[in-house]
C-alpha cells in the first residue's frame, strides 16, 4: 500500500492512537456513570417524595451573592464562553470554571454526573468531526496505513476540542449557580428580573412532582418486573412500554386534578404569593463587575491574538 497525505503513520498506530483511547474513554464514562448513578439516584424504596423541612444554606461567597446578579452574570458569562472560537481561550475558560467550582464548594458527585450527561453528545463530535471536517489549505491530515477514506483531519479534532472545552466550561458553572441558593430563591430571582412569577412557580411544581412521578413510575416498573416483564427488542415490549406510558399519563392527569383542587382549597386564586425582596449591596455589584471583566478578557484574548 502506497503512503500518501501530509502525515502518514503505519496501520498499527490506529489502534494505539485512536481506538484504544476511545475505548478507554468510553469505558471510563460508563464506569463513572454507573458510580454516579449509584451515588445520586433516588433509592428504590426510600421515600423521597416528602419535601425537606427547609433548604440548607452554605457559606461561600457565591452563597452570599445576590441571586439576581448571579443569574444575569452567569448567563451573560456563559454566552461569552460560547462565543469563543479557539481552543486555548476555551481551555482557559475551563480553568476559570474549575476555580469557581472550588470557591463554591460544589459537590463533586453532582458535577461529575453533569459532565457525564454531556459526554455522549460531545463525544460524538470527537468521533465524527476529525473524519468529516472538509480539508482546507493548511490543514494537517493524518492517514493510517494508507486508509485514505479514513483520513483524520487534525483541524476537525481541534474544533471538537474547542466545542468540548466550551461545553465543559459552561457545565461546570451550573452547579455553583444552582447549589449555592435554594431553588425557589434562584427562581424568584429570575422573576425579579422580569420573568413572570408564575414561571418560577411552575418550575418548582414540576420539580416537586417530578420526584413523585418518578417514584410512581419506579413502582409500576417493579410491578411489571414481578410479572416477568423484561425489555427486549420486539413489538410486545413496545406495547407494554406504551401501556406503561398510558398509565403514567392517566395517573398523573388524575393527580394533577387533585393537586389543583388542593391548591384552590387552600386559597389559590391564579396567583402565587410573592416572596419578599432584599436590596442589592455594593459587594454584589463588585463581584459581578469582576466576573464580567474576566469574561470580557477571555473574549478579547480569543479575538485579538491570532
Amino acid at each position: 500500500m502506497p503512503d500518501s497525505g501530509s502525515i502518514s503513520l503505519p496501520l498499527w498506530h490506529l489502534p494505539v492512537l485512536v481506538l484504544m483511547p476511545v475505548a478507554v474513554l468510553i469505558a471510563l464514562a460508563i464506569g463513572l456513570r454507573r458510580f454516579a448513578h449509584r451515588r445520586s439516584a433516588p433509592g428504590e424504596e426510600r421515600d423521597w417524595s416528602v419535601p425537606p423541612l427547609t433548604d440548607e444554606r452554605g457559606t461561600s461567597p457565591l452563597h452570599r451573592w445576590d441571586v439576581r446578579c448571579k443569574i444575569v452574570i452567569i448567563l451573560v458569562y456563559s454566552f461569552m464562553i460560547v462565543s469563543l472560537e479557539r481552543l486555548v481561550p476555551a481551555l482557559a475558560a475551563v480553568g476559570v470554571s474549575l476555580l469557581i467550582l472550588v470557591i463554591a464548594k460544589a459537590s463533586s458527585v453532582k458535577v461529575l454526573s453533569r459532565l457525564l450527561a454531556i459526554a455522549g453528545f460531545v463525544g460524538m463530535f470527537f468521533l465524527v468531526m476529525p473524519l468529516t471536517a472538509p480539508v482546507h489549505a493548511g490543514d494537517t491530515v493524518v492517514v493510517f496505513g494508507g486508509l485514505e477514506w479514513m483520513a483524520f483531519n487534525l483541524r476537525g479534532l481541534q474544533l471538537a476540542g474547542t466545542i468540548g472545552a466550551k461545553a465543559v466550561a459552561v457545565t461546570l458553572l451550573m452547579e455553583p449557580l444552582l447549589s449555592t441558593a435554594p431553588l425557589p430563591v434562584t427562581l424568584h430571582g429570575l422573576s425579579r428580573l422580569g420573568a413572570p412569577e408564575v414561571v418560577g412557580q411552575m418550575v418548582l411544581l414540576s420539580y416537586r412532582y417530578l420526584h413523585v412521578f418518578r417514584h410512581e413510575a419506579r413502582r409500576m416498573s417493579s410491578g411489571m418486573q414481578v410479572r416477568g416483564f423484561r425489555k427486549r427488542t420486539n413489538l410486545q415490549t413496545l406495547r407494554a412500554v406504551a401501556n406503561f406510558l398510558g398509565m403514567l399519563f392517566v395517573r398523573s392527569f388524575e393527580r394533577t386534578e387533585r393537586v389543583f383542587d388542593a391548591m384552590r382549597a387552600r386559597g389559590y386564586r391564579g396567583r402565587f404569593p410573592e416572596p419578599e425582596v432584599r436590596p442589592l449591596e455594593a459587594k454584589d455589584i463588585v463581584l459581578s463587575a469582576v466576573w464580567l471583566v474576566a469574561g470580557a478578557a477571555l473574549v478579547a484574548y480569543d479575538r485579538i491574538t491570532w
Binding site: E45, L53, P182, L204, V226, R227, V259, M263, R264
Partner: protein, 588 residues
C-alpha cells in the same frame, strides 16, 4: 327503612354553619352524583360521612368547600350562599385534606408548603412562616401530618377530611386521631374505618347512591348491623373475633394448613430461607439488618411493624427485586444472580396500591400478561384466566377496563394476576388498605380458601389474626420477634413495643361490639307480682297481674354468627313500672 330512627338535635337556623338545601350535582358526563341533599351542620359538629364507594361522599365534600358548584340547590356557609367573592373568602376558613399527602404537599419545602395557605390569606411572609412553623411543630413532620399542618396554619373553622388514615400505620393513626380530637372546630370526615370514626365523630351521615340515607348519631349507626349491611358498611365481621374471645386458631384456616403440612412432610426444606440478610439503599442507608427468616411450605406468616420498619424491603428481596448481602436460599438452593432474575416465576406479590400493578387496557390482557411472559400456550392461558377470574369472583369482567373498576375489584384483579401464575409463595402488601368493608370481607373469604404459602404485611390486626398463625415483628430494619399470631395479638407489650398502638382499636372494637348487641325492644309484658300500692289511705301489698308495653334495653349474644336479630322477647327481666304507684281498683 330501618326501625327506631332517633331524632338528631337539629341546629337552629342562627347557629347553622353549613346549610345545604335541595342540592343536586351532575358530573360533566351527565351522571347524577348527588340528588336532593338537605343537610344542616352546626358549628362544632363532628360528622362521619360514610357510604359505599361511589355514593357521592367526595363530591359532597368538594361542594362544601366550593371546588364544585352545585347543578341545582344551594350551599350556604354562615347563611350566605358560597359563590363568587364570598367563596374565595370562606374557602380560607375551610381546610380540605386528601387521602394522599403528595396531592397536598406541593411546596418545595415543608415550611414553604405550610406557609402557602397563610400567604393566600394575605399574611406577610414572616408571619406566615411563623404560623407555618408553629403548625408544623404542633403536628409533626410525617407526610400526612405535615399536610394537616398546612391546613392548621390557616386556623380553619372547618376541616374536611377525605379518608385521612388510609395510608397510616397504627401508631401514626393514633397520633393523627389525637390531633383531630384536639381540633376545636367543625369536622367532617370521610372514612370506611368506623372504628376510627367512632373515636372521632358523634354524628353520622350515610350517603346512599347520591342521597342521604340516614342522619343520626354515630352510636346508632354502628349499633344497627342491618343498616350497616344495607350500605355496604358492615364491618362487624371484624368484631366477631374480638380479642376478648380470641381462640388460638380458627378451624377455617387450620384445615388447608394441615393438608399442606402433611403433603410437604416435616422434613421438607423451607421455601425461603434468609440468613443474616442485610440490605442498604443505594445512598447507604441501612434498610434491613441481619434479618433471618425461614418460611416452610404452607405456612402463613404476618409481618408487622411501623411504616419504614423494612417489611416491604424484606419482601422485595424475597421477590428478587433487590439484592442484599447475606444468605438467601429458595427451595433449598442458594439464589444466585441468575436465579434471582427468575424468581418471579415462583414468587408473586400483590402490591399495596393496585394502580402500580395494573397497566393493561382490559382485565383479560392484564391477567394474561404474566402468563405470556411465562411462555404458556394460548389455550392454557385462556383456561387459567377463566379459572382465576372465578376464583376472585370477577366472572364476566374479561373486557372491562381495569382502571374503571372499583377499589375492591382492582385489588382482587391484582390478586388474580398473581394467582394465575401459580406462585409457590404469595406475598400481600397491606391487602386491606383503602378497601371498603364489603371489599375486605370478600377478600378475606377468597384468601381463606387459598392453599399457598402466604406472607402478609399488614397493620390490620384482624386480618393478621384471621389469616396467619405466625407473626414476625419488625422494627428499624430488624426482625425483633417471631411468635405465634395468637400470642402476638394477646400481648400488649409486643403491640406497643414499636409504636404499634393497637390498643385503641381494640377498645373501640369492644365498645362497638357491646353496642351492637344491646337493643331497645318494645314488646308486651305480662307480669304477676307483688308490689305495694295505695288504696285510699291504706297501703298494702299483694300479687297483681299486669299487661303493658314499654321499651327497654338488654344485652344478648348471638351464638350462631348469622342468626340475625329477631330473638324472642325475654319475659322476665328487671324494669321499672312507673304506673305501679297509681291508685287502682280491684277486688280483694
Amino acid at each position: 327503612m330501618h326501625d327506631q330512627p332517633l331524632p338528631v338535635q337539629r341546629p337552629t337556623l342562627e347557629a347553622t354553619l353549613f346549610s345545604l338545601q335541595g342540592l343536586f350535582y351532575r358530573y360533566p358526563d351527565e351522571t347524577l352524583a348527588l340528588s336532593d341533599i338537605h343537610l344542616d351542620i352546626a358549628p362544632g359538629d363532628r360528622i362521619a360521612l360514610v357510604g359505599q364507594n361511589g355514593s357521592g361522599k367526595t363530591t359532597l365534600i368538594k361542594l362544601l368547600c366550593g371546588l364544585l358548584q352545585p347543578t341545582a340547590g344551594q350551599v350556604r356557609y354562615k347563611n350566605q350562599v358560597i359563590e363568587g367573592e364570598y367563596l374565595e373568602h370562606s374557602r380560607l376558613k375551610i381546610g380540605l385534606l386528601f387521602q394522599d399527602p403528595d396531592d397536598q404537599l406541593f411546596g418545595h419545602t415543608l415550611l414553604e408548603d405550610a406557609a402557602f395557605g397563610p400567604r393566600c390569606q394575605g399574611l406577610p411572609q414572616p408571619e406566615a412562616e411563623a404560623a407555618a412553623q408553629a403548625a408544623l411543630q404542633h403536628v409533626g413532620l410525617a407526610a400526612m401530618r405535615a399536610a394537616l399542618a398546612g391546613l392548621l396554619a390557616m386556623k380553619p373553622e372547618v376541616l374536611l377530611l377525605d379518608e385521612p388514615t388510609a395510608n397510616l400505620d397504627p401508631h401514626q393513626e393514633q397520633v393523627f386521631l389525637d390531633l383531630l380530637i384536639g381540633f376545636s372546630g367543625t369536622l367532617i370526615c370521610i372514612s370506611h374505618d368506623l372504628i376510627f370514626l367512632y373515636e372521632l365523630c358523634d354524628r353520622a351521615v350515610v350517603l346512599n347512591q347520591g342521597r342521604i340515607g340516614h342522619d343520626y348519631t354515630l352510636r346508632e349507626l354502628v349499633s344497627q348491623r342491618q343498616a350497616l349491611r344495607e350500605h355496604g358498611l358492615d364491618f362487624s365481621f371484624r368484631l366477631v373475633a374480638a380479642p376478648a374471645h380470641d381462640e388460638p386458631a380458627r378451624p377455617s384456616i387450620a384445615k388447608p394448613e394441615a393438608v399442606t403440612a402433611t403433603n410437604a412432610g416435616p422434613t421438607a426444606s423451607p421455601v425461603v430461607d434468609l440468613r443474616r440478610y442485610t440490605y442498604r439503599y443505594p445512598d447507604g442507608t441501612l434498610a434491613l439488618r441481619d434479618a433471618s427468616v425461614s418460611v416452610r411450605a404452607g405456612e402463613r406468616i404476618a409481618f408487622v411493624g411501623e411504616n419504614g420498619a423494612g417489611k416491604t424491603t424484606l419482601l422485595s428481596c424475597m421477590l428478587g427485586l433487590h439484592q442484599g448481602q447475606g444468605e438467601f436460599l429458595f427451595d433449598g438452593r442458594p439464589v444466585t444472580r441468575r436465579r434471582r432474575k427468575a424468581l418471579w416465576r415462583q414468587v408473586g406479590m400483590v402490591f399495596q396500591d393496585s394502580a402500580d400493578q395494573l397497566f393493561c387496557p382490559s382485565v383479560e390482557e392484564e391477567i394474561a400478561f404474566g402468563l405470556h411472559q411465562m411462555g404458556l400456550s394460548p389455550t392454557e392461558i385462556r383456561q387459567r384466566v377463566d379459572r382465576t377470574l372465578s376464583l376472585v369472583r370477577l366472572e364476566g369482567f374479561e373486557d372491562r377496563v381495569p382502571l374503571h373498576l372499583s377499589g375492591g375489584e382492582r385489588k382482587r384483579l391484582a390478586l388474580a394476576c398473581v394467582l394465575a401464575m401459580e406462585p409457590k409463595l404469595l406475598i400481600l402488601d397491606e391487602p386491606t388498605a383503602g378497601l371498603d368493608p364489603r371489599g375486605e370481607e370478600l377478600l378475606l373469604t377468597i384468601l381463606r380458601q387459598l392453599n399457598v404459602t402466604l406472607l402478609i404485611v399488614s397493620h390490620d390486626m384482624f386480618f393478621v389474626g384471621e389469616l396467619t398463625r405466625r407473626t414476625l415483628v419488625m422494627h428499624k430494619g430488624s426482625i425483633i420477634e417471631d411468635v405465634p399470631t395468637h400470642a402476638f395479638l394477646q400481648d400488649e407489650r409486643l403491640g406497643n413495643l414499636n409504636g404499634l398502638a393497637y390498643a385503641y382499636r381494640r377498645r373501640s372494637g369492644e365498645a362497638i361490639h357491646a353496642l351492637q348487641h344491646e337493643h331497645e325492644h318494645d314488646h308486651r309484658h305480662r307480669h304477676l307480682h307483688a308490689h305495694p300500692h295505695p288504696h285510699g289511705d291504706i297501703t298494702h301489698e299483694h300479687l297483681h297481674e299486669h299487661e303493658h308495653r314499654h321499651p327497654h334495653r338488654f344485652m344478648h349474644s348471638h351464638p350462631g354468627e348469622e342468626s340475625g336479630h329477631d330473638h324472642l322477647p325475654r319475659r322476665y327481666h328487671d324494669h321499672d313500672h312507673p304506673d305501679h304507684d297509681e291508685d287502682h281498683d280491684h277486688s280483694h
